[in-house]
C-alpha cells in the first residue's frame, strides 16, 4: 500500500496558541482516512494544513513536513498544492450566481483552459463522478448552483473539486448538514472516488467514519492519540482515551 500524504512533525498555530503538537501520519493512497475527535481537538486544522488552507488565516502558521506524492507542499506555491489537493467543506459553497456548468468548470478556467470541447468533457465526467450528472444534465446552463438542494450542492462542490483532477480530496464534515439520504449518497460517492484518489475526511459522526474509512485517526487536544485501521479503532482501540471517546465516556 503506497503513501499519498506523508506528514512529519506537523505543528500549527493560531497566533501564540499551538493547535497541533507535532503530528506524524502516513495517509494511504486510494483509501479513505477518517479524522475524528472532540470539538477543538485540531482535526479541521490538521486537514487544512494538508492543502495550505490553514495559512489563509492571517494569524495562523504551520511548521513541519507535508509531502504529497513526494512533493513538499510548503516548498511550492499554494495554488499548485490546491490543484493537487481538493477540498469540500461542511457547508456547500457553490458560486451562487454561476450556472451548474460554470461552477464545475471554474477551476479549469482559472487555470487557463478555454477549449470548449475539453471543458464539456470535464464537466460531464466530473458530474458523473460526483453522481450528479443524471439529475442536472438537462439544466446545466439554465440553473444556478444555488438553486440545487443541499445534498446536490455538496455533490456539485465535489464535482468542482474533481474537475481539476486532484490526487487527494479533503472533506471537512461533508455530510453533517445533510439529511440521511443525501448523506448516504455522499458516502456511496466516497466509495467510488477512493478507487482513484485519496480521501481524508473529518467527521463528528463516528458511524460515518466506520462506514467509509479504512483508516481512522483520533485527535485530542492537538495530538494524534491513535491511528490505525478503522475496524481496530472502533472495536478494540489500543489507547484508553480513544476508547473513552468513542464509547461516550468523555467528549
Amino acid at each position: 500500500m503506497s503513501t499519498a500524504v506523508e506528514v512529519r512533525n506537523l505543528k500549527a498555530w493560531f497566533g501564540p496558541t499551538e493547535a497541533l503538537h507535532g503530528i506524524d501520519m502516513s495517509i494511504a493512497s486510494t483509501h479513505a482516512t477518517a479524522v475524528i475527535g472532540p470539538s477543538g481537538c485540531g482535526k479541521s486544522t490538521f486537514i487544512r494544513c494538508l492543502n495550505r488552507m490553514h495559512e489563509t488565516n492571517p494569524e495562523a502558521r504551520a511548521e513541519g513536513e507535508v509531502k504529497i506524492g513526494g512533493m513538499d507542499i510548503y516548498g511550492v506555491p499554494a495554488v499548485d498544492v490546491r490543484r493537487r489537493v481538493g477540498m469540500v467543506f461542511q457547508k456547500a459553497n457553490p458560486f451562487p450566481t454561476m450556472s451548474i456548468y460554470d461552477n464545475v468548470a471554474a477551476g479549469l478556467k482559472l487555470n487557463g483552459m478555454r477549449d470548449r470541447r475539453v471543458l464539456d468533457e470535464v464537466v460531464e465526467h466530473s458530474l458523473q463522478q460526483a453522481a450528479l450528472w443524471e439529475e442536472v444534465k438537462d439544466v446545466l446552463k439554465k440553473k444556478s448552483g444555488a438553486s440545487l438542494s443541499g445534498g446536490q450542492q455538496q455533490r456539485l462542490c465535489i464535482a468542482r473539486s474533481l474537475a481539476v483532477d486532484p490526487e487527494v480530496l479533503l472533506m471537512d464534515e461533508p455530510a453533517s448538514a445533510l439529511d440521511p439520504i443525501s448523506t448516504a449518497k455522499i458516502e456511496d460517492l466516497i466509495f467510488e472516488l477512493k478507487q482513484k484518489l485519496t480521501i481524508v475526511i473529518v467527521t463528528h459522526n463516528m458511524q460515518q467514519a466506520s462506514r467509509v474509512a479504512e483508516f481512522t485517526g483520533f485527535f485530542l487536544m492537538g495530538s494524534l492519540v491513535e491511528f490505525d485501521r478503522t475496524e481496530k479503532i472502533f472495536t478494540n482501540p489500543s489507547d484508553k482515551r480513544t476508547e473513552d471517546y468513542i464509547t461516550g465516556r468523555f467528549g
Binding site: 458511524q207 478494540n236 476508547e243 464509547t247 461516550g248 465516556r249 468523555f250 467528549g251
Partner: protein, 225 residues
C-alpha cells in the same frame, strides 16, 4: 461521563443476563439433585422452569438488539453486548442440558436402582464450578479467572471419558443394568456439555475485556497475557 442513559442500560442488560444465569444454574442444581434423590417432583420443576428460561433468553436478546440498533455502541461496549448475546444463548443451552438430564432421571426412576461406576455428583460439582467461575469472571470483568475456566474444561473432558469407559464396561458385565448405565452415560455427556457452555462463556468474557478471540484454541497467548 456522557451517554449516561446508555451506560445505565448496559448495567440493566448485565442484571438481566445475570438473572437468566441464576435460572440456568438452578436448573442444573435441581436436575442433579433429582438424580441423587430420584425425585420426580424436582424433575417436574426443571421442566416447568424451562419456559421461564426460554422467555428470559428472548427478552435479553431483544434488549441487546435494541441497544445495538438504538445506541450504535463502539469498542468495549460493542464487545460487551455481543458477548451478552452469545452468553445468553449458552445459558439457554445450559437450561436445555438440565432438561435432558431430568428426562433421563425420569427414565431411571422407573427402573430398578443400580450401583453404577460413575460419580455424577462429582462431575456435576466440577461443571457447576466452571459455570460459577465463568459467571464470576463476567460479573467482575476478570479475564484471568475466565482463562482458568478454559483450563478446567480438560478435567471434565477426562471425567466424561472415564465415565464412558466405566459405564460401557458395566453394560457388558451387567446387562441388567444396561438401561440405567445408558441413562447415566447421557447424563455425564450432558454435564460435559454444561462445562462446554461455561467454556464458551469464559471465552466471551475474554473477548469482551481484551478484544481477543480465543475460541478453538486461537490466541492462547492473548488469553493468558
Amino acid at each position: 461521563m456522557t451517554r449516561i442513559r446508555f451506560h445505565q442500560e448496559l448495567e440493566e442488560l448485565k442484571h438481566r443476563i445475570l438473572a437468566m444465569a441464576g435460572m440456568a444454574e438452578q436448573a442444573v442444581d435441581l436436575a442433579v439433585e433429582a438424580y441423587t434423590e430420584r425425585d420426580l417432583g424436582l424433575c417436574q420443576r426443571v421442566l416447568t422452569n424451562e419456559a421461564a428460561i426460554n422467555r428470559a433468553e428472548r427478552e435479553v436478546d431483544e434488549f441487546a438488539i435494541d441497544l445495538l440498533a438504538m445506541q450504535q455502541p463502539m469498542a468495549i461496549d460493542l464487545r460487551f453486548i455481543l458477548a451478552v448475546i452469545k452468553i445468553n444463548a449458552d445459558l439457554e443451552r445450559v437450561g436445555d442440558q438440565a432438561v435432558n438430564i431430568v428426562q433421563r432421571v425420569m427414565n431411571m426412576i422407573e427402573l430398578a436402582p443400580a450401583e453404577l461406576p460413575v460419580d455424577i455428583p462429582a462431575m456435576a460439582a466440577r461443571a457447576r464450578a466452571m459455570v460459577r467461575d465463568a459467571l464470576r469472571a463476567f460479573i467482575e470483568g476478570d479475564p484471568e479467572l475466565a482463562r482458568h475456566v478454559l483450563v478446567a474444561d480438560d478435567e471434565i473432558d477426562r471425567m466424561n471419558k472415564e465415565a464412558f469407559a466405566a459405564l460401557s464396561a458395566c453394560m457388558q458385565s451387567k446387562p441388567d443394568w444396561a438401561a440405567q448405565a445408558l441413562d447415566a452415560l447421557s447424563i455425564a455427556r450432558n454435564l460435559e456439555r454444561v462445562a462446554d457452555h461455561a467454556t464458551n462463556i469464559a471465552e466471551d468474557v475474554i473477548f469482551w475485556i481484551r478484544g481477543a478471540d480465543v475460541r478453538h484454541g486461537a490466541g492462547q497467548s492473548l488469553a493468558g497475557s
